[in-house]
Symmetry: C2
Subunit: 226 residues, 2 copies
DNA sequence: GTCTATACACAGATAGAC
DNA sequence: GTCTATCTGTGTATAGAC
């Protein structure tokens, strides 16, 4: 599987994603027509990602967002009750999307090496196709309420644990060297995250997500293989 | 060399650091007595790091800083002309400190394996002893002026290039496998950064900087060694 | 649903007494 | 050098017309 194939498999379309946002917050928002809401949520989210990438969420003013979305200040408040809620909605939606898609790529039948490859790829390709979301989650987690913050940390542990289980299974089956798998899993995650945190660097160098992913997998496998 | 030994070698004392801040900004600040300035700069910097770790620099108000340092608003403005300048001073000082100390640990005589070990350790231990600074630089780079931002990126490239040169030398000498050294260097950096970005995680697990560093070195060496 | 105009709070920054 | 009191700008959020 490469990135292009991944995107084909991915059945979740952007549009459905914003429909979810609308449906899950239906009581909190004033807008009643689904089509309008979906269209504008997409605009709003993308604008937030773009502005926030430049200066961070706190520094983004509602007026910035208004200019960027070409919706007036008053109109914006039809879609969420305040800036803080907007942040929460974005995070929540991102979280649930990521969990949903990860599930699709877990195959307990495959051998550990294949499982590891698939999991690393799934994470890399997902973070590529929803990069603004991943970047945002990482950088803006601090601004969340304690509950929201915990959700982010628990996501980190959740994905790391999937790696950990595979590594342990591999050792048990005698395929992988005995190592400190907790450390290995942490380091893999660190390298995965670098891809979306340093977008500018890899873009400048013309490194694609496919190249990066293969290299990361080689790096890892060479360390744990007998 | 382990972390304890590193700290002994490190000749730069905290106090000297804040003296530098005072001396380099002497014309811009109202305070004339060195002792007072040094003492309060230390308080101010540490407060900024602490508050910012929780909510980010933008979200930190001057009143927050005033409470935390136990200096009044008016007094604070004796030490810097405004919030933006404060940010710039912190970044600038961090940058120059890091470059200065890195220089100390570069030994072109040693063989590539030793050079690599030393360089990775120097970076890890430095980032540990000045962790707030590293974390701050990473997370708040976005808020800098374009010039300041470039300084951060150039630091990233500077340290990465040192790794790169060692890897290439090692290949030339026939000690390391032929690989995409640019990619390897990037991944090493990614793993180094994870240490100070995810402090909470490693602390919770009781992983020390020495353990982490040794593991990272093993990981790397096993990939590039013949 | 979207707009403009505006209320209100709060942040950054300064003045001037001590 | 440090304080308190205060000015001024700007940001979030709402009211009410269209």
């Amino acid at each position: 599987m490469n990135y292009a194939e991944f995107k084909n498999i991915l059945e979740i379309r952007e549009e459905n994603l914003y429909r979810d946002v609308y449906l899950e917050n239906q009581d909190a928002i004033r807008i009643k027509k689904e089509a309008t809401a979906v269209k504008n949520f997409e605009k709003i989210f993308n604008s937030v990602f773009e502005i926030t990438y430049e200066k961070g969420f706190q520094a983004m003013t509602m007026r910035d967002l208004s200019c960027h979305t070409k919706l007036s200040l008053g109109a914006l408040y039809g879609y969420f009750s305040g800036k803080e809620e907007l942040l929460a909605i974005i995070h929540k939606q991102g979280n649930s999307m990521i969990r949903k898609i990860f599930g699709q790529f877990y195959d307990p039948q495959a051998n550990p090496v294949e499982q590891l490859r698939t999991l690393i790829k799934a994470h890399m390709f997902l973070s590529e196709s929803a990069r603004p979301w991943f970047y945002f989650t990482f950088m803006e987690a601090r601004n969340l309420t304690p509950t929201g913050r915990e959700a982010v940390l628990s996501m980190e542990e959740y994905t790391e644990n999937m790696l950990l289980e595979i590594l342990e299974a591999g050792e048990t089956e005698g395929i992988f060297i005995k190592r400190d798998h907790v450390m290995t899993a942490s380091l893999i995650k660190a390298m995965q995250q670098d891809w979306y945190l340093k977008r500018w660097k890899y873009k400048k160098r013309g490194i694609t997500v496919d190249t990066y992913t293969e290299y990361l997998i080689d790096f890892t496998i060479s360390f744990i293989s007998l």
